[in-house]
Amino acid sequence: MENKIEISDLQVHYGDKSALNGISFDVHPNEILSIIGPAQSGKTTLLKVINRTLEFTPEATVQGSVKLDGVDIDTIGDVYELRRRIGMVLPLPVGLPLSIYDNVAFAPRTAGLRTKSELDEIVERCLQQAALWDEVKDRLNTLGTKLSGGQQQRLTIARALSHQPEVLCLDEFSIAIDPVTTMRIEDVLKTLQTEMTILLVTNLVQQAKRLANRTAFFLNGDLIEIDTTDVIFSDNPANQATYDYVNGTFG
């Protein structure tokens, strides 16, 4: 089985400060891999390396390699194309200054899609998947920024799905979303698994337990342990720190 993503000896520094200290692991195709770990452990940094948005942080330096389908992402000439292959849901929802419809149609349009019927179809499908369609279907032309915080977060999920990514990265997607809606989106993620690989950064260990095939535990820029979710959440994971964090007795 080919790996979807291969990360080897990845080091990231912000200035002199190390954020990832040489981590290596693989992401299998069509798995849900959850990444857990306390604050400052480098989870967000890892996602930013994968879609090369860390390039917007001038003081950040990256060493090591990240391969997507066996190709080093640094050698991919069209970085915009790379970013469209990777869906990214950031922890804080940011609405584009556009209508709800145009928010979701943004990525397909930047990729060159113009056909109205196809755009309509994408917008409806993505809003459905993000559990937002029923709430907004009558006002697709109002500004996306007029939605509530939780609705905006679901709008960013719809946007991330709009360009049919191969890998979907979610960074603490549920902070602003109520538990019932979170459950609906979790169900969608499970069904999306057949189409794409999912990297789920989460502070809710129970969410990782519910969804993930495998779980990686990060701590202060180190990958402490990566294994099947069953093992990580069992009584005897390989590392004591993993057990303590998962069971809430950490620190």
């Binding site: 940011v94 609405g95 584009l96 990525a107 930047t110 946007r159």
Partner: protein, 279 residues
Amino acid sequence: MNSMTTRAERKQKIVLQSITFVILGVAFILMWNVLIKTRVVSMQAVSAAPLPNAMPTNLFSDLYLVLLMSFLAILFGIACAFYLQEWLPETNWVRRLIEGLVAILTGIPSLLFGILAIGIFFSYAGTLKMIGGSPVPQNAEAIPVQHDTTLFYAEALTFILMVMPVTIKTTQGALHSIATPIREAAYVLGASKWQVLKRQVMPLAFTRILAGGCRAMSRAFAAAALLIGIYTWHYTTESGKMPGRFMLFLSGALFLSVLSSTLIETHRSSGRNTVNLPR
């Protein structure tokens, strides 16, 4: 703080200080000129109490042109600000130099620029021609303000120096307020830099940029109004003499204004704190 930052800071400080001294020098020379030459105008020509309709008409046609140029300068200033803010890194020396200049020039009230403009009109248009040999005419109707192209350019330059920095500063501020995390929302969808600027940054920053342009244009109009006002006063008052002390106080105002901007700028670049004195 490591030694690199402090060295860069020191360099920037020296650059800023030298700019200040150059500007102050030029300002004093100009003011001195104005001071001397307006006296000449006042004593020899204007005391003849001319009629209002003696105002040279090409003052107005020149002013309209100058205002048009100011408008174009504002558009150019917006383009400059985009280039500085979006394409040059913060550490780039050209960007630092321009930002330092802008900080000083925006600190100068439009009133002072207005006076400078008056100085140019009065000293180089009226007097030079008069002092240069031909007998001083007895009424102002006979004082033609020569349509002198150098004069026009000097006038236009004054206005441009007044509107450009304000435009650059407000536009940069507007762009800066749309921080990287906001832009990342579009970048993660595969948008290019141009698409992000056009579809996200511009709509968000537009109002502030427009407001900055209006503020710059208001400076230009204020200076033009002052110019017309003083000109009229000068040609209609019996003793239309520009008191020397008037100019001295204005020089003082200019000096303090530049000094204050420089102090704020060096304070900010020393990395301690951001001070925003009300203007």
